[in-house]
């Protein structure tokens, strides 16, 4: 099941344009060496790919219509009216 989902997910992410950042491996708790190898290899691969485009680089927008680029600081939530009313009464 996991394998089926992974094959599917990898292709979907690839279609959207953020492929290559997904990896699946079965490692037994007795396979410490395999574990270190897989994790180091994958870390290396990710390092080569560079930062996550969804975080590091703001989405390249021709015009920034109303978008808060993902990862950018979002404006603080305005205090709710209920809370404001309570404080006023307070």
């Amino acid at each position: 099941m996991t394998k089926k989902r992974m094959v599917f997910m990898r292709e979907l992410l690839n279609f959207i344009g953020i492929g290559d950042r997904l990896h699946l491996e079965w490692i037994s708790s007795a396979e410490a060496q395999k574990y270190t190898r897989v994790v180091s290899d994958f870390t290396e691969k990710i390092r080569r790919l560079g930062p996550n485009p969804l975080r590091g680089r703001a989405v390249k927008l021709p015009e920034n219509l109303f978008a808060t680029p993902p990862g950018a600081a979002r404006p603080a939530k305005p205090e709710s009216r209920l809370a404001a009313a309570k404080t006023a009464k307070g």
Binding site: K4, V7, F8, I16, G17, P62, A67
Partner: protein, 273 residues
């Protein structure tokens, strides 16, 4: 057509018939019943589409024994097939009356051009995803360009949930898209691309390519293109053709059952191992 519906209602083949009625010049979905047979003369068909099968599913949730008649296009038939597989309706509970249809790679017999995408403006063609191009053309673009184009489309989302609300296949009582741990709320655009990808993944084995989501989208996000890719993958990877395959979708089945078509997948999986 009107006569058939009248016969069905008077003979008790169906308790209610879902079709369209002209109200103030607009075809509006309407349930015709045997207490008001004269209304049936006002029944119309045309290019207007609403998710009638969704209304049927909702009616059946309230009245599980009701017999429902429904005006059906090819997509309605695929929808009923999938709804049966997902155990939302029982086979034979819904009678269909076939009318003309709109084009889809998933269906044959298509003669209506209502769903042909509107002309794509120059701006969208340059920066966004053109819904009228072929899936292959989009796939041939460089990965980075595809990413930028999809992000341009997704950031237009106003999170109106129109795509989900109109979708005949969205029958879940609890929706992942409303789970604030999965999709944060309180800001626009919603978390992209998570919002759209969550929905896309949930369309695997469900999307019947009716195109209502794209029609409903006020931001003109080419959702149909995204879900077409999902259907394409279901076909290529699992040999599962949503709407025509009689089996449970591959993600509902454990293991390598032949019906989930592991033959094409093994080559792909071997490449990725």
């Amino acid at each position: 057509m009107q006569d058939t519906v009248k016969t069905w209602l008077t003979e008790g083949t169906v308790d209610i018939f879902l079709g369209y009625k002209m109200v103030e010049g607009h075809p509006i979905p309407h349930g015709f019943n045997r207490d008001r047979l004269d209304e049936i003369d006002e029944m119309v068909t045309g290019p207007a589409r609403y998710p009638l099968e969704k209304f049927a599913t909702q009616l059946l949730q309230m009245h599980p024994d009701a017999k429902i008649g429904i005006l059906a296009r090819d997509c309605t038939k695929r929808a009923l097939n999938v709804l049966t597989i997902w155990q939302q309706i029982s086979p034979g509970q819904i009678q269909t009356l076939q009318v003309n249809c709109c084009p889809s790679p998933l269906g044959s017999n298509t003669d209506c051009s209502y769903l042909q995408p509107a002309d794509t403006g120059a701006y969208k063609a340059a920066h966004g995803v053109d819904g009228s191009q072929s899936l292959q053309a989009l796939e041939q673009m460089p990965e980075e360009e595809r990413f930028d184009r999809w992000m341009y489309e997704f950031q237009k989302c106003i999170k109106c949930y129109g795509c989900r609300n109109v979708c005949p296949m969205c029958f879940c009582r609890e929706c992942s898209l409303e789970n604030k741990d999965l999709v944060g709320n309180g800001h626009l655009p919603p978390d992209i691309p998570i919002f759209h990808l969550v929905r896309a993944v949930h369309m695997a084995g469900r999307c019947i390519d009716c195109g209502l989501c794209e029609q409903a989208c006020p931001a003109e996000i080419p959702l149909r293109m995204l879900y077409r890719k999902i259907n394409d993958m279901m076909g290529n990877l699992f040999d599962y053709h949503t709407g025509s395959s009689p089996d449970q979708p591959p993600f509902s089945l454990l293991g390598d059952k032949p019906s989930t078509g592991l033959a094409p997948m093994t080559a792909e999986a071997a490449k990725n191992e």
